[in-house]
Amino acid sequence: MSKRFKQQVKQLRKTSQLVSTNEQSKISNQTKENVRKFGFLMRRALDQGKIPAALKNASQMLDGLRTSALSPKNYYDLYMQVSDELRYLEFFLQEDIKSGKSASKLYKEVQFIEAIVPRLYLMVTTGSVLIKSQEVETQDVLSDLIEMCKGVQHPTRGLFLRHYLSQMTKDKLPDKGSEYASSNDQELLSKSIDFTIKNFVEMNKLWVRIAHQKTPGNLTKKEKEIAQKNLDIERKELKILVGTNLVRLSQLEIVTLEVYTERVLPLLLQQINECGDPIAQEYLMEVIIQVFSDDYHISTLPSLLQTISKLADGVNIKQIMISLINRLIKYSESNVEDINDKEQIFTIFSKGIGLITKERKNLPVKDLLSILNSLIQLALQLNPKQIDYIDRVLRFCYNSASESGSLSRDIIKEINNLLTTPLTKYNNVNILLEFENYSPLIELLPYGDRRKIALKIIENVLQNSTYIRTSDKVKKLTEYVKILVQDETDMPSESEEDEYQKTLFLAEQDAVCRLVHLLKSKDHIESFKIVQVLAQKIGNGGERRIKHTVSPLVFSSLLLSFKIRDYIEDNEEEQYPLSPKKIFEFVYKIVTSLTPLFPLISLKLLLQCAQASDKCGFEAISYEFMTKSILAYEEHVVVSKVRFEMITLISSTLQTLRVFDEENYSTLANHAGGHSSKLMVVNDQARAVYMCSYLFWIEDDEEEDDSEEDEEADEDKEKIYFKDTKRLQGCISRAIRVAGSLMESASMFQLLFEILNVCLYFLRYDIEQINTDYINTLLELIHRKIEENNTDLSELVEPQMFNFYKSTIKHIKYCQSQDETEDLFKEINISISLKDLK
């Protein structure tokens, strides 16, 4: 490991233009020491008023900046130290000039210095003094300095020198209202711009030049690559020096929008274009985008885009475009009213991107898509109502992506973003449904991503409770999310799914189910169309999905049937083209066709339908649903436990229905009772049978007694809807008998206790067969059974059951103690039971 590291270091040393880090810090310290020494001498000479000596010391101090051995970072440290000293010098010379000395002479005299780097630093320093003295026109000094600085062509030294020039002149550039402008003459002021741009251009050239420094010829290819990398790092460390000029330009008052558009930007872009260097182009475009104000960008978009389209191959166009677009997005967030021509901005961008794709054939599709994604964000920001803009972009994305053949992970990621952006921005899937090109883009994605986006869409609908109110839209939505609604050809087989995928599948189906309830119109005819569309889609969903999704469809339809019923009633619209009946017919088909595959679901839904049609007053339909459910029970339910559940469900549903005449009801109740008594497991049989007893004592509902009209109607009705006390007693007696025959005492007692409660329930209705004697007999039976076991009840049953029985007896006792209770309870003999309970 360490050997390899050493080797790498060795390689780096060999390839670096500079000396090693150790050597660097040695040189750096030495040079800094010299700077300190001569800086000190300079200050002392200044304090003694010896200007020539001070300038000599300054020049010696500046010799330190002639080094080639330092990395940009170390050179920067040195530069900072030197410029501190020079600031002192400048201050002192300025004071000296105030006392009557000639700044021009000073400026001339420093030019005698033999070495160019110290000479130019001192020229800049004294030049600054000269400008302040106003002996000479500011712009003459500036243009002289900028011209003479050409003498330093070494990249690092030149960059720092020019940076110093820029630093020293920044507060002296003639600008509006500046004291160094002898007039506000436009021509004169524009010299400031020329100066800054010139300096910028030269700095950029120097900067770019670093890249072209020749590496030693004796390197291997790999070493050359490392050397090149080092140069790039070096360059990146220096970039800020170049960028500062652009910051300077952006700070000039005189750079108005007009000046920027006509003079500044063209020159900057020309330089960017001409330098042809990827690192520079990328950085400078980025700086331009960041430092100049947004309204400038808006006014110059075409030329910016034109330039971007022509940037060198290595430039990360994506980053630049995104920066530009993001700036405009940010700007429009707060200034959307100020932007006049929103449409035009979009058009310019569209054209610009078109141009970029034309000029740059090798622009990666992923980058293009990333740019387009930003463009969509901009369009959404500028004018979210302009759906066709976004749709056009989506089209463009689709074309680009589909032409690129197989999609890389990056491209897929971008497509996902493209789809998600408008989704989350609008938070209204209705708008999404207006796009022509959304669904095709989804189709480009691989299976897993299609699933994710579909789920996202549905979740968005759910989170925002977005109602989708037309069948066309629903149709389209089911296209968008069709991967969750039906099988796809590229779907992996179920056996390949792991636990996570199985859970995911359930979550998806759950989402689809919840979605169904948001798909409805206020117009019932349209709603019916919607459920029809849904039925068709869900019907094609395959067994795995149908078993989840059919229920909400049915429920949604049933709800619709109520609405239609109410609507017709409320509006007395006899000619209404839709009746609840139609809905039931529609649902009937769905639910019955389900029976062979999913008998239990079908059965339960049939019962629901029976209830619904009961509420709507359709006797024949309810009867049909009930018989179908009993048939489903008979033909398809075989597991005995399930049989118990289903038959009790059927009988309890039947209890709630009120639409039947006596004969029909009786038939259905007999079937329910008959199937209950045929249950194989004794336990279940006893329980199912006593539950059937309720079928034979049905009171009428009392729900519609709040309006007067209904009350009138009420008078015609009997209080009791159906009764057959003989069969009622038959059920209970049979249940007691069956329960009594049970071998297992715990179950037996539980059943007997339950039946006791049923008897107590009916006791209130004063049914002749279920009287006090009957109950006393049952209590005796319980006592006897306890005795048979020769042990205490608490030993025979779980504490829960013991308490259940205790509560029941307590209840009886309580009722007996109440005065107002009719004598019904008084005669119940609970004395033995109380003993049993001790």
């Binding site: 000599k56 002639r66 005698f112 033999e114 110290p118 050409k150 003498g151 330093v152």
Partner: protein, 318 residues
Amino acid sequence: MSMFSSKPFHQIEISFTNVENRQTINQTIGESKEITPLFIYSSGDNITGEVKIKIKNSKKLEYRNISIAFIGQIELTYDPGNPTIFITEKVLVAKGGILTGSNDYSFNFQRKRMRYESYKGTNVNLRYFVRVIIDRNISTTYSQDKDFWVMNVMKPPLENPPINIKVGLKSDLNIDITLEQSQFHLTDVIKGIVNYYIVKIQFKSMGLSIIKREITKSNSGMNQNIFTENETIAKFEIMDGAPVQGDKIPIRFFLRSLNLTPTFPQINNIFSVRYFLNLVLVDKKEKRYFRETELVLYRNTLPEKKTILIKKELSSDK
């Protein structure tokens, strides 16, 4: 003065008159290291002055003639005993007598034509001086010199064409150096530009140097000896780093920072002093490329009363 003579008991003092507004130049005279301020005259000036001869201790000095001479002469340092006098004028101020005490004389050389400037070079000096000669019958002649300096202001040249030098090296280098003019006065600024058309060599720096070339001819003996002295009197860096195609590097060099004389094309057929500008390019491998061109220098003004020799103070040590 003869080695046999006893210690002189006379003293000769020469002084110039009408010099209140005359500028001076600090110079060493002859072998002496002592710096003396010398009055500056130009051709056509009247050279006037006074001579005081003092005889000490009431002694007497017998003489045949006392004369005062104005002399311009060229001395070769390697042949000191054989100066060439190119101009002289002698005035007899006293004839046959005995000097005692203090004696005053004056001289007035009217509108002297002094076409050569004074010069102090490596191998040659051109001097002007006033000499007092006490000529005695048998004994040694007494004499005393007093130097002055001559500088001549010249008219600017009628034509001063720019200098254009092209430097090419196969297909690796093609540069073009333009100086705005070819003749410069001594406080002039050399301005110019270096255009890099083709640069395939990685340079490190570019500099100027000013070379003074003094050529002397000795006429003594049968053979004529020619000595050439090249002295680099200034180095000046004009570029740091490697230029690329299209770069234009400015040249600006202040001559006033140097001690220069005008170009002396041919002085009395004995010596010449000429100046050359040498452009030196150094590449990354320390290889040097030269290009030399002559600069013709002329004097357009006399130096100001006080010359700051800032050059010495400012030029860095490296």
